[in-house]
Symmetry: C2
Subunit: 305 residues, 2 copies
């Protein structure tokens, strides 16, 4: 197979075949397809699109470029969330412990800041001594013990995505719904979660400027999850103003702690609770108020979920 | 200026500004814009196009990436031709000496084989001892002495095009009329010819499969020539069957010599004469039959022109 033929196919508006997708993603990961060839293909995908079947297969090829994690039996149902990012979006920080306190296990493998949006790892690194990289064993142990882990994605998780993401960032090919959706979903599926809630942002502070494009992205990701047997739901949330009052790594950590203590800005509390409700539903936990939440402040949050 | 902004502009269907074009072509030539960035931009240009003003400016930027040749006064009007290439197209070989014999000077800076089409230099290299690379001084001396030179383009001639062409070849971005037209015309304008006749091929053996696309390419190139003050005309010629009877480097040289001796296949003779007629008209030579052509066989050809 030749890279130029695959590029021609998409450039001329045709579907990529399954074997073309398998080959080009694997060969790019191995370095046999050059960056400039993948850049041309990414631009052709951005401008000519991919259909649902192509997107599902592209996602699978990215998953297959690495290892699928398995945490074994951590004694709780696994459920994760992903936000497409916005200004002041620190929701992961109160959300993961909240959902863990209600009985699920949250394997939150997170990323760095992207464009104008902050990254969960960057925020947590404002805590002296906090470490982003954990081994697979450390992740599994913490999931079983604490019920939540927030750490960096492991190097073996969808390496094709890691390489392609860096390329898209410098070649003006970030804003493609098929490429965004397959990037996010390949990592979430490879991470081995049992359920996934997507927080898809729209508005001036988000990558998707309109609710329509956010809906299109959300539907594309839910379709990928469904095609891969991963229970996936999505919320569309407004990112026209920053979330909460704090923007900045250390400030956002402090605000998240405030929320966990039962305070914090109402928009952060509301979104955290709404996402927790979705995650617990996917995890099959319907009696969180009575069964799990012990500290009074947390019980209130869970109760409203 | 940032490469990603320039790429975004074209990706989103906008015009590239003059300063964006100047910057991106110069920065790419210097290696500051990476291959993967230029590949993404080339794909965006291929899919979203460029208008006449953008194409003229892009061509100028490629000319400005190197030196404009000047042969000084060679005592004859300079006129050149370019063919978009086809199977068995050896026309340059009889044409350049024919036009020289009629009083013009032909600075035929030529290329190598491209895709399925042969290259003039490759054909001439089938002659033992023939040398493709000449210095500027050698070119000027031969133009003044013989009235025609066929050699490789010099390294200082539109280096941006040399680099971009190699990139387009491996990234599926060859078949863009703005990029093809600016590539050809930047070299021809930088070469310093006074007039240019384009032989634009269409049909199964050509890069442009339909007369419509060949006409579009021809009109684009004539517009670039006109915008740069270079007298340019174009013929559209059918490349559905190979030209002449010989295909292959040494065989095509032999067939060309046959044509110069007054024989050869009628299609090669006809096209050679038709192009010679256009070139002589651009060079302002209207009395070639009486004034210049000395050997009887050649006189006949010129006379029919």
């Amino acid at each position: 197979m030749h890279a130029v033929e695959v590029i021609h196919n998409k450039r001329d508006g045709a579907r990529l075949t399954d074997s073309q997708i398998d080959w080009v993603v694997a060969a790019y990961t191995r370095g046999e397809v050059a960056d400039e060839q993948m850049a041309a293909l990414a631009m052709a995908i951005l401008l000519n699109g991919m259909d649902a079947g192509e997107i599902a297969h592209w996602t699978q090829a990215m998953i297959d470029s690495g290892e699928v994690l398995s945490f074994g039996d951590v004694g709780r149902p696994l459920v994760d969330k992903h936000s497409t990012g916005g200004v002041g979006d620190k929701i992961t920080l109160p959300l993961a412990p909240l959902v863990a306190a209600c009985g699920a296990a949250v394997p939150q493998l997170s990323g760095r800041g992207l464009g104008h949006t902050g990254g969960t790892l960057d925020k947590l690194e404002s805590i002296p001594g906090w470490r982003a990289s954990l081994s697979d064993e450390e992740i599994a142990a913490q999931l079983a013990d604490v019920g939540a882990v927030i750490c960096a994605t492991t190097p073996t998780l969808a390496p094709a995505d890691r390489k392609l993401y860096a390329l898209r960032d410098v070649t003006g090919t970030v804003e493609s719904i098929p490429l965004i959706a397959s990037s996010i979903m390949s990592k979430k599926i490879a991470e081995g979660t049992g359920g996934l809630v997507l927080d898809v942002k729209f508005g001036s502070g988000a990558f998707m400027k309109t609710p329509e494009r956010a809906r299109q992205l959300a539907e594309t990701m839910v379709a990928i999850g469904t095609a891969h047997g991963l229970a996936t739901t999505a919320l569309l949330t407004d990112m026209s103003v920053p979330l909460g009052r704090a923007v900045g790594n250390a400030l956002e950590v402090a605000e998240s702690v405030e929320v966990l203590r039962g305070g914090g800005p109402s928009d952060v509390v509301e979104l955290t609770v709404a996402l927790a409700r979705e995650m617990l539903a996917l995890a099959g936990i319907t009696d969180a108020t009575r069964r799990r939440c012990s500290p009074p402040a947390r019980r209130t949050r869970c109760g409203s979920g």
